[in-house]
Subunit: 211 residues, 2 copies
DNA sequence: TAGATTGTTAATCGATTAACAATC
DNA sequence: TAGATTGTTAATCGATTAACAATC
């Protein structure tokens, strides 16, 4: 399996670039075009494609439509991805209202919260009691979950999800979650992202002053 | 300058581990202890420290307090980091209420929004008109900014920030922002994070079925 | 002193880039 | 055909790991 996160990010970048080429009326693109658009080398583009089993035509490049379709399939864009969200707090609500998901085929089908006041079955994305989570996942065969609950309950939510058959989790809780070997865990630690910015600003500032 | 994001993440992990060792009453730790706690090799720990100019004592390991202090300083934890937030929508509000910032010395000092209805100078973190952004940054010498506005206005906010002297940006808008060479940009693309999970779940699922 | 741990150098591993034969 | 582009192999680059001399 392709193990590196960067491959997937590049794949997604190629996809965005392809959309733009399509809009400009391109029927086919060369590895050079994509490389320029995404900011990588053309070797990288061809290497990536070869890795994912994508082939083009020598001299003819890649058909935009065909290539788009192949990348869509790799990224699971050829079908709607149903996702459950646990935690209807501030981050949970932001995700429920996040507009970049739906047009990309990602659908949060239900949210869950332990707080009775948050429960609401009438909203487009219903907010259900946390106790219903396991049954819901099993019944609807959901594979992807988002954890947006406080640190101290994140692991127990994770355990429930795995028990119910979830295969991949995006975790917003600032804690290292334990899964099993079959579970993909991706941590979105907002504090860490900001700390990264802070570190590099400080480091850059220091080298500058030294010059 | 240390260019790799992973170094900073590991540094932050060492820091968390150190806090736990401290709680357990450790006065000093060995590279082996830290390696176990963080899940890297002890070579890596020592290599990282050597890179950041951190030295220990042969045989004696590292003093927990001293080491913590050094890492704190590298990560800018020895002082409060003031940050401005632009965009008081769903994500913006989630960040305003994000509890993991303040105890780590990250303070959102003001938020800005273009929508009059969102303006509120009385809240602990005031929400001010977008027009005041540039003056505010300059007056308070803010170096770090968070962009949580819609895609179509993100670049113009970025431009204003740079104009005003911002040195680092955490960007939540799903778009590639252009800065200049002195500006650190870190993109927190939530959709991309979720797409990563989806990709690996699909890829893992396929290899499994093949077995 | 004997044993253990650092700090650094060398070896390995993995990812990116360059080069070029195949070929359209 | 001549020229251009792919797909892949080899070379390079960078990051991680192993090994070990220095030394506490």
């Amino acid at each position: 399996m392709i193990a590196n996160k960067n491959y997937v990010i590049r794949l997604s970048n190629y996809r965005n670039a392809l959309k733009r080429f399509k809009k400009l009326g391109f029927i086919r693109v060369f590895s050079d075009n994509l490389a320029d658009a995404v900011g990588v080398s053309s070797s990288q583009v061809r290497k990536d494609f070869s890795l994912f089993g994508i082939t083009g035509n020598k001299k003819g490049g890649y058909q935009v439509d065909e290539l788009t379709k192949k990348i869509d399939s790799l990224l699971g864009k050829d079908r709607v991805q149903s996702v459950v969200l646990v935690g209807a707090g501030k981050i949970g609500k932001a995700l429920i209202n996040y507009k970049a998901f739906e047009p990309e085929g990602i659908r949060i089908v239900a949210a869950f919260d332990i707080d009775e006041k948050e429960i609401n079955r009438k909203t487009p994305i219903p907010v259900l009691p946390l106790d219903d989570l396991e049954v819901y996942i099993k019944k609807n065969k959901i594979e992807i979950g988002i954890i947006a609950v406080p640190e101290n309950v994140a692991q127990s939510v994770m355990d429930t999800m795995i028990e119910a058959g979830i295969k991949g989790v995006l975790n917003f809780a600032p804690i290292h979650l334990r899964g099993n070997d079959d579970t993909v865990i991706n941590n979105a630690n907002l504090r860490l992202e900001l700390e990264n910015v802070i570190y590099f600003v400080n480091a850059l500032g220091k080298t500058k002053r030294k010059r």
